[in-house]
Symmetry: C2
Subunit: 375 residues, 2 copies
């Protein structure tokens, strides 16, 4: 939580140096805290302990209230941190912050649920050159909306105004997520077996990786963020095509709600043997992390069609096929490896939970590699 | 954990745009991960589950191994996040990173223990304009050293190379700490009573707040970071005086080890009724957060002498007394409010744990304010 500043600060004498004079506005910081409180509270269940003005956020792990009864036998905490990379630059450039908070939450909670657990709490770090409360509030609202969608408490955050590190309009975002998994339910890569099926969940677009390359392509090809390019419209799209900014700022899909609900449906059987969130190093680089050294994953790219933004970027940047695969998700943002006899029912459940699911391939004996058959 | 990049990346064809060409070096990222692994592992107890290449870090909350036996009845998770502000600019300017990791850990764990619990795990987010593995390794080593001192696992982190947000040498750091407290042992501001004694623990210097003002004073007064100023030497200091950089980059004191050990010594009695980590808004702004609306804290400034760096900064910046108090810790970095009958023994224990302790004042009936009697 941003530290509440002293309310007793007297106006400093004009001749001496002051903190405010060094570019840090305590007043704007206070106003920002007031603005975001309701967004934070909107994410709080009874598991969050009231701690107004406290130095840290408090969250009950075990709880005996009737509605929320839960006690862990061997609780394992899961924690991870991630940012949104230079996607924030596009948000700043277009003054569109309504989705960037979801990007931040998604980058973290999607990593977290890979381990088999559920996200409990989230904290954000926002650094900026100049603290404009109304602008940052839009980011925090987006963070809170995404946290609610994942039943995750936005427990705190820090906002740092650092005029000499960041340009006046520049920003950076980092997120931290904590979750819990019952030890016996934690994902275990050694359980993956030949014959297991690999399912892919459709991405919502570029998500939050590779934006340094995206921005280089925009510059190189003279693309216009505000322009509606016909080739960006997905097949069957009705109405005017989306602008390039619409497509590139589509928030990263939150897989956590579906993945957590799926796991709740299989309390006894461990039907999912591995999972992967497809981020920085593409499908191969990430799915590999779900394998052990004696199995390979064979992926058939004809199982799905990348959304139009990928061929669009590739063409305008003359980007090599292999480079595209190594940098972008290419249409699949999350993978599940599952026992073959349950693949159909898992696919069905995920569809009912709102996911678009592709049967991408299978596990075979191997060397811990992902082998891709190009489309 | 920084995502391991795909090991199969082929050199891209020269005509197309590439990720590496956009200023992000996957190779340097991989080399950095190799360099920091041993530092991270040096902080891991058996409570950290092996999860090489995993998407998130895993930490056992309850554990039944003989040496570490512990089971929580009503565990409450505590979490907070903070950065080091523009102190990082001084570290970059002087190429001194050996203490800045401790600053980052201290800013977080000191906030965490205020709630009565103990820190369990830490994660870092490092953003930079250019990833120089050897430079960032010095930061991570300092983070790991501080984590070990607090018996806290460095469970993961993220390193973001963002050439368009940060200048080539610029950096930002954010930290994130998670701890646990048994519900019945959590700090509760309503327990503070008139008659309670306020103890202060000496700070190691400016800590990690107010550096935008510090840097403005340096510029304004033409101070030289490399120069040894005689007036910066503490009373009784032997040998040559420290340089301004020595003093300003002294890492923030880690109070967590002493505070946690103190609490372990009073398992049944709740002798400490409130605590405060003195950061951004000074003694009054932070100690106030430990009070409830019916009590005041009366503080007598003659109980301690601020280290030489504070009068030095004040004089060179002609900073108002009140502004100094509102921005800096002025020599006290952490406060404990305790029952009067235990004050002497608590003071004694803290001294034996290596703290310099001041009896700063007491609690009286009031309105939730901190009233300071100037020295």
């Amino acid at each position: 939580m941003p530290s509440p500043a002293s309310k007793d600060a007297k106006p400093p004498k004009p001749q001496g140096l002051t903190y405010a004079g060094s570019g840090v506005s305590i007043h704007e910081g206070d106003r920002f805290v007031d603005l975001i409180m309701r967004h934070m509270r909107s994410t709080h269940s009874p598991r969050v302990l009231a701690n107004e003005g406290g130095f840290a956020g408090l969250f009950r792990l075990d709880f005996n209230q009737q509605l929320f009864k839960r006690n862990f036998k061997e609780p394992v905490l899961i924690a991870c941190t991630d940012g949104v990379g230079t996607k924030i630059k596009l948000a700043v450039e277009t003054d569109r912050f309504e989705g960037i908070g979801q990007d931040l939450v998604a980058m973290n909670v999607n990593d977290l649920v890979v381990q088999g657990g559920e996200p409990l709490l989230f904290l954000d770090y926002i650094a900026c050159g100049r603290l404009v409360p109304e602008r940052l509030e839009r980011i925090v609202r987006s963070i809170a909306d995404a946290c609610r969608a994942c039943e995750t408490a936005l427990l705190g955050g820090e906002t740092a105004e650092m005029p000499d590190v960041y340009g006046p309009d520049d920003l950076d975002l980092a997120g931290f997520a904590v979750g819990v998994v019952e030890l016996k339910r934690a994902t275990d890569p050694t359980r993956v077996e030949p014959g297991d099926i690999v399912l892919g969940l459709a991405s919502s677009g570029v998500h939050s990786n590779g934006y340094s390359l995206v921005r280089k392509i925009i510059k190189h090809a003279g693309l216009d963020l505000a322009r509606a390019y016909a080739e960006l419209a997905p097949p069957g799209h009705a109405g005017p095509p989306p602008t390039l900014a619409d497509v590139l700022l589509t928030p990263t899909r939150l897989y956590a709600p579906s993945v957590v609900k799926l796991a709740r449906g299989y309390k006894v059987k461990k039907v999912v043997t591995g999972m992967a969130h497809i981020t920085g190093s593409g499908l191969a680089g990430n799915l590999e992390r779900a394998l052990h050294p004696d199995v390979d994953a064979l992926i058939d790219e004809s199982a799905w069609t990348p959304p139009p933004v990928f061929p669009f970027l590739q063409q305008h940047g003359s980007v090599d096929d292999e480079e595209m695969r190594n940098v972008f998700n290419m249409g699949v943002g999350y993978c599940l490896i599952c026992r073959p006899t349950f693949a159909a029912s898992i696919k069905d459940r995920l569809r009912k939970l709102g996911e678009q699911v592709f049967v991408m391939g299978k596990v075979v004996k191997g060397k811990g590699q992902v082998r891709i058959k190009p489309r």
